[in-house]
């Protein structure tokens, strides 16, 4: 709470992006946290709509509302209808009603998925400036607010527009897992009144309230992360095997095709020497249908997710190591 300005600026500074900075109202952050607290538990994910407006190259998020949880058998529930309704109502009470993106909670940092890609694509396709806010409740519960804003890179947008995830196009586009999502820096802005209140609270709060931060137990969190990571690694292995067999098939077929062509040519030259007309040309592509290439998008997503996990684990372990050293020092001091 002390960190009014969470300046987690990622390395790549997007130049051509229309949004360079995001400014979030404290209200939005609290609302998101509250939403998860009330409805999300375990690996369940909560989602909602962000409202706000664009000022120059800054996106200001001033309000939000959650998507209601609904079950499968609730067929007649219309999400779009609900959103429109909600926005109209908010407009009546004079709140910003422009749709600027959406938010989603995450479970141990797993969010890079096909679903996220698809919905963010459709958002960004409709409203160019929209972002997705990823809120990690577990890390937040450990004492540091974790909220990140992501946008799809223009490159990825193009690929998604084409809907072509074959290996060739991805290679041509030079899209690696690093270039899929760009993180946009976030600034949390509060009104002066709230700032005053916060300062007041800071005075009153005791050290004991912050001891969450110093919790030394780590294995549970690590285990979970490892499990998830392992799962993704398995997925990656499968994808690679698939791709591998595709490659092998392809090369085998190429060989066959080559052989066939050679034979054909030989025959033709023989026929020519005998004065016979050459064999009619056949559609070579029909005879050798190239094998279906596996879509590579999943692999990319998995790679992105794995990367994400790794970073999470790295950050977590380095923090914990620090804590452990600290604890050791304290022990040595007291004894």
């Amino acid at each position: 709470m002390g960190s009014l300005k969470d300046s987690a600026v990622s390395g790549s500074n997007p130049l051509d992006s229309p949004v360079k900075q995001i400014q979030i109202d404290g209200l939005v952050v609290l609302k998101i946290i509250k939403h998860y607290q009330e409805e999300g538990q375990g690996s369940e994910v909560v989602q909602g709509v962000l409202l706000g407006l664009v000022v120059e190259d800054r996106l200001e998020i001033t309000n939000c509302f959650p998507f209601p949880q609904h079950t499968e058998d609730d067929v007649d529930f219309d999400e779009v209808q609900y959103q429109m309704e909600m926005m109209r109502s908010l407009r009546h009470v004079n709140i910003d009603h422009l749709h600027v993106g959406w938010y989603q909670s995450t479970y141990y940092g797993s969010f890079v998925s096909r679903a996220l890609l698809d919905s963010q694509f459709s958002y960004q396709h409709a409203i160019e400036e929209s972002v997705v806010l990823i809120y990690d409740p577990i890390k937040t519960a450990q004492g540091s607010l974790c909220l990140k804003a992501y946008r799809l890179t223009p490159k990825l947008m193009e690929i998604c527009k084409e809907k072509d995830f074959s290996p060739e196009t991805l290679k041509k586009a030079c899209v690696g897992y690093e270039h899929m999502l760009e993180e946009v820096p976030i600034v949390i802005k509060n009104s002066h009144l709230i700032n005053v209140l916060l300062l007041d609270l800071q005075e009153k709060s005791m050290v004991a309230d912050k001891h969450e931060l110093l919790n030394l137990s780590s294995s549970n969190h690590l285990e979970k992360s490892l499990q998830l990571l392992m799962d993704r690694v398995d997925g990656m292995s499968q994808e690679i095997v698939k791709y591998n067999s595709y490659c092998r098939n392809l090369s085998k077929q190429q060989q066959q095709k080559q052989q066939y062509l050679q034979r054909r040519q030989q025959e033709n030259t023989q026929r020519q020497s005998r004065g016979e007309p050459p064999l009619p040309e056949e559609d070579i592509n029909k005879m050798f249908k190239p094998p279906q290439a596996p879509p590579r998008m999943d692999t990319l997503l998995i790679a992105g997710q794995v990367n994400n996990y790794c970073q999470n684990i790295k950050a977590f372990t380095s923090q914990n190591l620090g804590k452990l050293f600290m604890a050791e020092a304290l022990q040595g001091h007291s004894s």
């Binding site: 490892l226 499990q227 690679i240």
Partner: protein
């Protein structure tokens, strides 16, 4: 009765009335009648024709016409009564339709129109025939008097019908009906005579000792009399008709009956064998008659044996269809015949039989030389045995009939035993082998209760006399041993030996001689090449393996039991593999032909192995193996399942939304497994051994009590192991005394189990002798460490896979395979681009 509506075969009653009725005057009145009548006959003829070619739609059409015509002439009918030929047609048509209806195969082949017409016609005629019930019933009664089977019936009907209409027609012409009737009578007479010939032969067979020619005369007279007599006599004619062509087969009047004549006759009869129009049952009768004649004339055993051979052969021939089984009476007859034949063979040691004796070198006449007869008694008996199996396969196993049929097994065994004695003295070794195998096949699956009792020393004095008698017989084990060893030594066909070995193993296993059975199985090397054997042998093999597994289980060798049953149970097709029933499958996988073949392979019900017992034994042994294993390897990523099926059952149990008390055998085992997982042996025990399970499974074993004790013991031991695996991390040290109390095992047993676990490095602990405690060592990796190890392994796999892709890109297949084991992908890192690599190399 009007002659127009009289039966076709009527002749005498006609004579009395026709003279005054048929006058020119009356004829004018009769004309519409006659017209109707002709209409009827025409329609009936077409219907009969349509019936022959199975044209149902035509049949239906014509039938409707007939019905209309009948309605039109209703008034006359009412006056005169319904004509008999009409009734006959109705009855025949109904029979015919029913027959077609039953014939499912034929119905399938019919085209749509025909099938539709068939069902409509069937319904119609059923409704319609209700009006004529009494008439039809009386007609059928008359029909049943004739001894021949249905086929010939319809034929005669056809013919006599024709005569009927003929006679009427001719009668209608004019005065010469008298003459026509006379000629008809002549025709009938002829038939009648030959019919009586057949009767006569039956009489002869029954032992009537009258002179043949005398009888002939008598018969002739009778025939004359009856020819002029009332209708009742005429029905008999029908039976005789097809024999017209066979008439020359019987001996002419007064022929001296000697060997040559009888043989000639026999050959004549045999020539008809297998031909299409031959009446097979009549042939059997004829042969019987011939046997009677030859017996009567003392033509010697040679010829009798020859005839008997042929009787039995024609009995087998009776069913043309391979799938059909013998009727009960035929079967009885067959058994009798074979018995008689064996009697003769035993009494006369100077008869040589063999299939390799040529037809012309036979010696059937009484002479100084021994008889030589072509024929193979062994084949006949083998065929009989097969017929017996077929009968058992086709009887409903839960009916009294099955029990009755099963009683015949004693006779079958008796015959085989007698044949065995006979062949032991006369036959070649090959034949002896074959008959031995038959004997073995009838012995191997039967549990020898007498021997079992004897081995237990329960030779109580209270036993009845009968029991005493029975127990004097040889132990089946000794018989099996003797027969099988002979086959092992002498047999030259592989199949007989294989079957004998399998039966031998089965028998050993059935009587809990586990080591003999196992050694024999291992020595035979059958496991390697059984897949090349024919399906019946494979079924026998499967049965043997299952029996072996169950035997191992009884002996408490859980692992062996599991291994033996694994193949059969893991496929989920145990029923099919053991030949105990067909699995429901769709027609794509198996057409009707294959299904028939498979049906023929089924093992008769009394030889079945209880499938529930089999499954239970398998699941329980899987449980005893799997649960401790699972507990020991909880965190092992490379853990393999021992039994897939057991896991499947566990999963099914887990999926249940509501867990009630276990009902079925499987549920019991699943519940017991769950209890065992927690190391709770008492609950486990109560789930495995209780009233329900006793009645379902355990009571089926001959030594129930012993098996149950063994099971309890195993459950205690394995529960102890599971408990230690699961909860060792909780304890620092554990008193062995507590353990022995908990699991109700003796201290030394507990000690030995724990020591074994420590030696196998399954349990990280050491024993502290003075205090009798197990001290746990904390050396197991934590779950996080486990996880990391797993992850490392997975990543290694990932890298490997990735490199494969990379190799493919490079086009260097060798690259991946040639790289040495260690250093793997670190080396690879140098392997990027040509220029880079060269640079690297130069810098080395």
């Amino acid at each position: 009765m009007s002659r127009f509506f009289a039966t076709g075969s009527d002749s005498e009653s006609e004579e009395s009335s026709s003279a005054d009725e048929i006058t020119p005057k009356k004829r004018i009145v009769c004309c519409p009648l006659r017209f109707r009548f002709e209409e009827f006959t025409n329609i009936i003829k077409t219907i009969r024709n349509a019936m022959k070619i199975r044209d149902m739609s035509k049949c239906l059409e014509e039938f409707e016409q007939l019905y209309r015509a009948f309605l039109k002439s209703k008034t006359i009918m009412d006056k005169e009564g319904v004509p008999q030929f009409y009734i006959r047609l109705l009855a025949d048509l109904e029979d015919y339709l029913n027959q077609l209806w039953e014939d499912k195969e034929g119905k399938k082949k019919m085209n749509k129109n025909n099938a539709k017409a068939l069902s409509t016609l069937r319904q119609k005629i059923r409704k319609y025939n209700k009006d004529f019930e009494t008439e039809i019933a009386s007609y059928k009664e008359v029909l049943n008097c004739s001894p021949n089977d249905e086929e010939s019936e319809s034929e005669d009907d056809e013919e006599s019908e024709d005569w009927g209409s003929d006679s009427v027609d001719s009668g209608g012409e004019s005065e010469d009906n008298e003459g026509a009737a006379a000629s008809l009578a002549v025709v009938f007479l002829k038939k009648y005579v030959c019919f009586n010939l057949e009767l006569l032969s039956v009489f002869l067979f029954d032992g009537f000792k009258r002179k043949r020619h005398k009888k002939m005369e008598q018969v002739d007279e009778e025939a004359d009399e009856e020819g002029e007599g009332e209708e009742g006599g005429w029905e008999k004619v029908k039976g005789g008709v097809p024999l017209v062509k066979e008439k020359p087969k019987m001996f002419a009047k007064g022929t001296e009956i000697n060997n040559a004549v009888v043989i000639k006759k026999l050959n004549e009869i045999l020539q008809a064998r297998g031909k299409k129009g031959t009446d097979r049952s009549a042939q059997i009768e004829l042969l019987h008659a011939l046997a009677g004649i030859s017996n009567e004339n003392n033509l010697g055993e040679g010829i009798l044996v020859k005839i008997k051979f042929n009787i039995i052969a024609s009995l087998y021939d009776y069913n043309t269809n391979l799938a059909a089984f013998m009727k009960a009476e035929m079967w009885k007859k067959c058994l009798e015949c074979i018995d008689e034949l064996l009697d003769i063979l035993f009494e006369n040691s100077n008869i040589f039989i063999g299939e390799n004796i040529a037809e012309d070198s036979e010696n059937l006449a009484i002479s100084d030389q021994p008889f030589r007869v072509r024929g193979c008694i062994l084949t006949l008996v083998e065929r009989m045995d097969e017929e017996f199996t077929k009968i058992m396969q086709n009887t409903d196993p839960h009916s009294q009939e099955y029990v009755d049929n099963l009683k015949d097994e004693g006779r079958v065994c008796g015959i085989i035993d007698r044949l065995l004695q006979y062949l032991e003295s006369k036959g070649s070794t090959e034949e002896v082998c074959r008959v031995y195998l038959r004997r073995i096949m009838h012995t191997y699956y039967k549990f020898d209760y007498k021997a079992h009792r004897r081995s237990l020393g329960l030779q109580g004095e209270t036993k009845s006399e009968q029991d005493q008698e029975e127990s004097e017989g040889e132990d089946s084990a000794i018989i099996m041993d003797r027969l099988c060893k002979f086959i092992y030594a002498k047999d030259r066909t592989d199949r007989i030996r294989t079957c004998a070995i399998l039966c031998h193993i089965y028998h050993h296993a059935l009587h809990s001689r586990w080591y003999q059975a196992r050694d024999l199985m291992l020595m035979s090397h059958l496991q390697d090449n059984i897949q090349h054997a024919d399906p019946p042998v494979q079924i026998l093999y499967n049965r043997t393996m299952v029996q072996l597994g169950i035997c191992a289980f009884r002996q408490g060798m859980i692992k062996d039991a599991h291994n033996a049953l694994l193949d059969i149970q893991s496929s989920g097709r145990a029923k099919e593999l053991l030949g105990q029933g067909l699995l429901m499958r769709n027609m794509q996988e198996r057409n009707a032909e294959q299904e028939k073949i498979e049906k023929r392979r089924q093992v008769p019900f009394h030889m079945h192995i209880n499938l529930e017992l089999l499954e239970c034994v398998y699941l329980v042994s899987a449980m005893l193996l799997e649960i401790p294993y699972m507990a020991a390897h909880e965190f092992d990523a490379r853990r393999r399942m021992i039994s897939k099926q057991f896991h499947h059952q566990l999963r099914v149990g887990e999926r249940q939304p509501l867990l009630g008390p276990p009902e079925s055998m499987r549920e019991h085992v699943v519940a017991a497994s769950k209890a065992m997982k927690m190391g709770d042996w008492k609950t486990c025990h109560s789930f495995i051994i209780n009233e329900k399970m006793n009645s379902k499974v355990w009571d089926l074993f001959p030594e129930t009590q012993r098996v149950r004790e063994m099971l309890v013991r195993k459950i205690q031991e394995e529960s102890l192991r599971t408990y230690l695996f699961t909860y060792s991390s909780v304890y620092d040290s554990l008193s062995m005394e507590t353990l022995s109390e908990m699991f109700e095992l003796e201290l030394p047993t507990v000690h030995s189990i724990i020591s074994k676990m420590i030696i196998n490095e399954e349990l990280m602990a050491s024993l502290d002798q003075p205090t009798q405690t197990v001290v746990m060592h904390r050396t197991e990796p934590t779950s996080l460490q486990n996880m990391t190890l797993q992850l490392a392994e997975k990543l290694g796999g990932l890298v490997e896979n990735n490199e494969r892709v990379f190799d493919l890109k490079q086009g260097v297949y060798g690259g991946y395979f040639n790289r040495d084991q260690k250093g793997g992908y670190q080396q690879r890192q140098n392997y990027q681009r040509g220029g880079y690599r060269n640079q690297n190399q130069s810098s080395y």
